[in-house]
């Protein structure tokens, strides 16, 4: 029963988030600030994770290729496909759910328990729209760039790991990366990323906004935000894969 109530509250929240903003200029400034805060500031962790993720995918693929009939370019092909279709959009989004989601929930949760949200409401500001809409726009706009960045670094990580260890040559790996390439795979990955970005921000904002109590409850909301964002991302991943690829 409580889940149904929560879903109802979440839908109501989304309705309020997308109501007409009071002042476009203020929202525009906030959106730019959010792009920096939740997008650009996440580039470092995305870069480190992507390089090592790609390196491990390539090495594991190489180590599992027992048959001499399999061409070496398969390593590059599998690294590219796994990275573009699944690892970059989904795993990086799950990591961002942890980093960005907890940050959003604790920021909004702290504003709630320190009455800053009440102060906004008293002034006549639609607090949900003011706080959440710029974050959603920033994430949906910028996360695809982060994921493209991640794809590139991940393939690069794979390339260096197999060429340095002598498991495949430069030509073999690059041929594999370019083999059977479909633009629709990139489109599928970016559509998923936009949906995941929306989920991360909206679910985390929901838990932050409806925080009640004090510091302990802000921490609890932050944890719940990460847990539920991750679960909803995995569910959405399944549904989107069925809808787009099948």
């Amino acid at each position: 029963m409580s889940y149904i109530v929560s879903i109802g509250k979440y839908v109501g929240m989304i309705g309020q988030v997308f109501s007409k903003p009071e002042r476009f200029k203020v929202y525009y400034t906030r959106t730019i600030a959010e792009i920096e805060s939740i997008g650009i500031n996440s580039a470092g962790i995305v870069a480190i994770l992507s390089v090592f993720m790609g390196a491990v995918i390539a090495l594991q693929t190489a180590s599992n290729m027992d048959s001499p009939l399999l061409p070496k370019y398969t390593i590059g092909y599998i690294t590219r496909s796994s990275t573009i279709l699944e690892f970059s959009p989904t795993i990086i989004s799950l990591i961002l759910a942890g980093k960005v989601g907890s940050n959003i929930a604790s920021e909004i949760g702290t504003m709630k328990v320190t009455e800053q949200i009440d102060a906004l409401e008293i002034m006549g500001v639609n607090s949900l729209s003011f706080l959440v809409l710029p974050k959603i726009i920033a994430a949906v706009f910028f996360f695809p760039f982060l994921i493209i960045f991640s794809m590139g670094l991940s393939i690069m990580g794979g390339y260096y790991s197999v060429t340095a260890s002598g498991l495949a040559s430069h030509e073999e790996f690059v041929y594999g990366v370019r083999a059977f390439f479909k633009v629709s795979d990139i489109v599928y990955a970016l559509v998923k990323t936009c949906v995941f970005a929306f989920i991360i921000v909206s679910v985390s904002s929901y838990y932050g906004y409806y925080t009640k109590g004090g510091a302990l409850d802000v921490g609890r909301s932050s944890t719940q935000a990460v847990v539920w964002s991750s679960i909803v991302i995995l569910l959405a991943n399944f549904v989107l894969t069925q809808l787009i690829l099948m």
Binding site: E115, Q116, E121, I122, M123
Partner: protein, 251 residues
């Protein structure tokens, strides 16, 4: 003037406010006093619309706030300033940005006009030159004064103060009280202050409402409250040994 008529508010089985009615006049500092847990903060949140009421009505100069939709309420809220117990300053913004925030959101002032207004408000609360400080760099008293400056930046008709003296030393408390009183008279605002600080009651209370068990128990002036024979008020006003001894001497 703000008029509250037969206001009821419950949380599940817990009936917090019972048929509460009161009038808060313009140009006066109206105090709502009572022990902790009697419903003072809930009453204020109901009056300003942060909580929905179960029944009754709240009228701002005869405009029925309780029956308005979100957009109509928004217009009334632009006429309301509120000083929160913990100041509720936006901690990512400087003092100046905090004061300019409502102006940015709801007026078409140029940046220079907004800065002039912010400086005027800061001067009014004796904080000239503190524009660039962050709330975390301000003392408790300074934060309250910045919150008052933000509350008056839009020239509100109604000012609500939720325990403005909590966490402040006695001399800073009196400073804040006097500031609230001065701006109330200066701008002819309807000011409602929630407090359980007897110093505030005696310092600035033009009209006092005593709330007990969610009901309006008594109302009067600060002169009347020290002479009342109402036992609940006597228990509240003369709670400390010092005040009891004072009452003995007065008697």
């Amino acid at each position: 003037m703000i008029e509250v008529k037969n206001l009821n508010k419950s949380f599940g089985e817990n009936h917090v406010l019972h048929d509460f009615s009161a009038q808060f006049e313009a140009g006066k500092v109206n105090l709502i006093i009572g022990q902790s847990g009697q419903g003072k903060s809930v009453l204020t949140k109901c009056i300003v619309g942060l909580m929905e009421i179960d029944s009754g009505s709240v009228l701002y100069n005869d405009r029925d706030f309780s029956n308005m939709d979100r957009h109509e309420r928004k217009e009334i809220r632009k006429e309301i300033g509120m000083l929160f117990q913990g100041s509720a300053l936006f901690d990512s913004m400087t003092v100046e940005e905090n004061i300019m925030f409502p102006l940015k959101m709801f007026t078409k002032m140029s940046k220079k006009e907004m800065l002039d207004r912010a400086n005027f408000c800061l001067e009014r609360v004796n904080l000239v030159g503190q524009n660039k400080l962050l709330p975390a760099e301000c003392s408790g008293g300074m934060q309250k004064r910045v919150a008052i400056a933000r509350a008056i930046s839009m020239n509100p008709k109604y000012l609500f103060c939720d325990e403005p003296n909590s966490g402040l030393d006695p001399s800073t408390s009196i400073l804040i009280d006097n500031l609230i009183q001065e701006i109330t008279y200066e701008y002819n605002m309807t000011t409602v202050v929630i407090t359980h600080d007897m110093n505030s009651v005696m310092e600035i209370g033009d009209h006092i409402v005593f709330i007990h068990n969610g009901r309006k128990w008594w109302q009067g002036t600060k002169e009347e409250i020290i002479r009342t024979e109402n036992q609940e008020i006597i228990d509240f006003v003369y709670a400390s040994k010092f005040m009891k001894s004072l009452k003995g001497k007065l008697a």
